[in-house]
Amino acid sequence: MPWSRKVLGRSAAVLIFGIVVGCLLARRVSGFSEEKRLAVYSSNGNYSLPVSERNGTDYIGLLEILQPLGTASARLDGRIWRLHYNDVESEFTAGGTRARIHGRNFDLPTSFLLENGRGLVPLSSLPGLMPQFLSFPVNFHETSRRLFIGNVAVHFTAQVIKSNPPSLVMQFSSPVNPMIATEPGKLRMVFTREPLVPPGSQRLTFDSTAIPSATFQENNGAAEIAVSGAVPLFASFSGDGKTITIRPAPQAAVAAAPAPGPAQGSSPVPVTQPATSAAPPQAGTAPAQVVSSNGTQYFAVVDASHGGNERGAELSDQLAEKDVTLAFALRLRQELLAHNLPTLLLRSDDTTLSLDQRAGLTNIAHPAVYICLHAASQGTGVRLYTALLPVGGEGRGPFLGWDRAQSAARPTSLTLASSLAAEFGKRQVPVRSLTAPLRPLNSITTAAVAIEIAPPAGKISNLNSPAYQQLVSEAVSAGIEAVEAARHKPGAQE
């Protein structure tokens, strides 16, 4: 009947609409909830894996845990999942709780699951299960989902030095590279890759009114040290990353406005570091927070190489590479912001940042392009470098080496380099494109190019010329803009 067909059609449309809206809502809600993760620390490397929840129990892929630790492979034989790790053979049955490992029975607390060929074991079984495969001691912090394999733990001590102003000196047994964030009355350091273990007490108290206490917490595969302060605090690194010193921020730095840029109401605030004009440069100071707190999606990250204790090349008696790169970086950011390209500057003052910190901060910001600036006294014009990557791959399973994280983005890096070269050519600036073994290019997961700027006509002092800096910045900005325009062309691949 036509009437019933109409009703059926409408009902179907409403049902489909409901399903679509439901899916969208579910996806949105799940996006906001924090994904459960397991952190694994071993002498072979530290890594993090997603945890799956099934029937109220946390499960983890066993092959994924073992792959980075040795030679591991798995095959499915009906309902039997056979896992081979180094010289250990094991069998797990889908839905069963008894496994055979190296000829012996092993009972799981809940049943073994098979999903798309992946073997999932309950997370709570790891303290007993892992020693069946490994010859190292295994320590599992179950509530925080942190698995320590072997003697890999990083310990720390904390002591307040009663100077003026007082400072909290934290000594770590190995170099650390935490994410640092500040909020009123607190400085938080989150250690996602370091096997940091708690000191004797979770709460440390100090005989200082400015820095009265610190707390250690572990949660979801990460450790956190939160330092309480009666005044705003900032952190600085020294001792090759083994020492973090926390002290009250200078008043000038606290009062400082965000980094300098063109006075455009619509421009995002790109950096939350203290402005150079408001506070004297502080060698060895790490940025307290580099990712915009207002959720800005940065299009470009500009990295002024060197800084702080690391001067880079001595271009002349008065000119250090770190100062030239900073001057170019500030001008370039200004130029990019003027073209409505939100830009994050990794350092806007005389700050020390390690190469890994630069890569980490860039990858967290997820920009479309990363530009690293260098300066040289030799030759003229500019040289553009893309990463020199090892041929072939030595990834372990789903993992990609930190030194080859650039691999997937290499084609876009080459596109960016050729776009920049074209713009320099248009402006009669001599340009040369090369690959180079230059960190942190290898570890950047987006289009990444390093620019080495040499003087325009052999005179080194011209590197400081505003006209030359403007010319170079305009060319880089135009090159980046051309790439951005190409991305938005119909049919272009993102």
């Binding site: 090349a313 190469l355 260098h374 030759g379 041929v391 180079a436």
Partner: protein, 196 residues
């Protein structure tokens, strides 16, 4: 009463001591006047026993920032590892000459080259090699590419190269070229193509 012969003996010994002191003082003065250690900047290596061979060195030229293959006749020992050492010492010898196309810091030296199977060569340079190296992406890249390519072109079977400084790993050569990883010879071949 002191015997006469004892008095004479003490007097003779005193005279000898004075004469020796005067001689030592003169010698010290002469040494101080002599030219300072500039003559000893070049590393002294024992003479090589072996027939002279025709080889290809990849030599860096700062102006215009290129790498060129250059024939050279060098006496090389029979052992594969010793050959690798001599080869790189000959290359560094070129860079330490006064009219070098790519000057290295004084005292730069190859301490050892270890060939580790399969296909890995470890070059151990001295501290002066890195401490005295000019800082710059291109300058450092030319040095690394020159050493890796020279080694790979003349010693068959090398496909990865690691560079140490003073027996230890260093982050960069002089602030730019990465020394933490292994140089893949295939990747360096491509780089050499760009630099030629």
């Amino acid at each position: 009463m002191i015997p006469r012969h004892l008095k004479i003996g003490v007097a003779v010994m005193l005279a000898v001591v004075l004469a020796m002191s005067f001689y030592a003082w003169r010698m010290r003065g002469r040494m101080q006047q002599a030219e300072p250690a500039t003559a000893y900047i070049r590393p002294v290596t024992p003479p090589v026993q072996g027939p002279t061979e025709q080889l290809t060195l990849y030599v860096a030229y700062d102006d215009p920032g290129s790498l060129r293959a250059q024939g050279a006749s060098i006496p090389l020992p029979a052992g594969r590892q010793e050959r690798a050492q001599e080869l790189l010492r000959a290359l560094l010898g070129l860079y330490l000459e006064k009219s070098s196309s790519h000057p290295l810091g004084p005292g730069a030296e190859i301490r050892d080259v270890y060939l580790v199977d399969p296909g890995l060569a470890v070059i151990d340079t001295n501290d002066a090699f890195a401490d005295g190296h000019r800082s710059g992406v291109l300058e450092e890249e030319l040095t690394v590419a020159s050493m890796v390519e020279t080694l790979a072109a003349n010693i068959p079977g090398i496909n990865r190269v690691k560079i140490l400084v003073g027996g230890k790993e260093r982050e960069t050569l002089a602030g730019h070229a990465d020394l933490t990883g292994f140089y893949d010879v295939s990747a360096v071949n491509q780089l050499v193509g760009e630099l030629q």
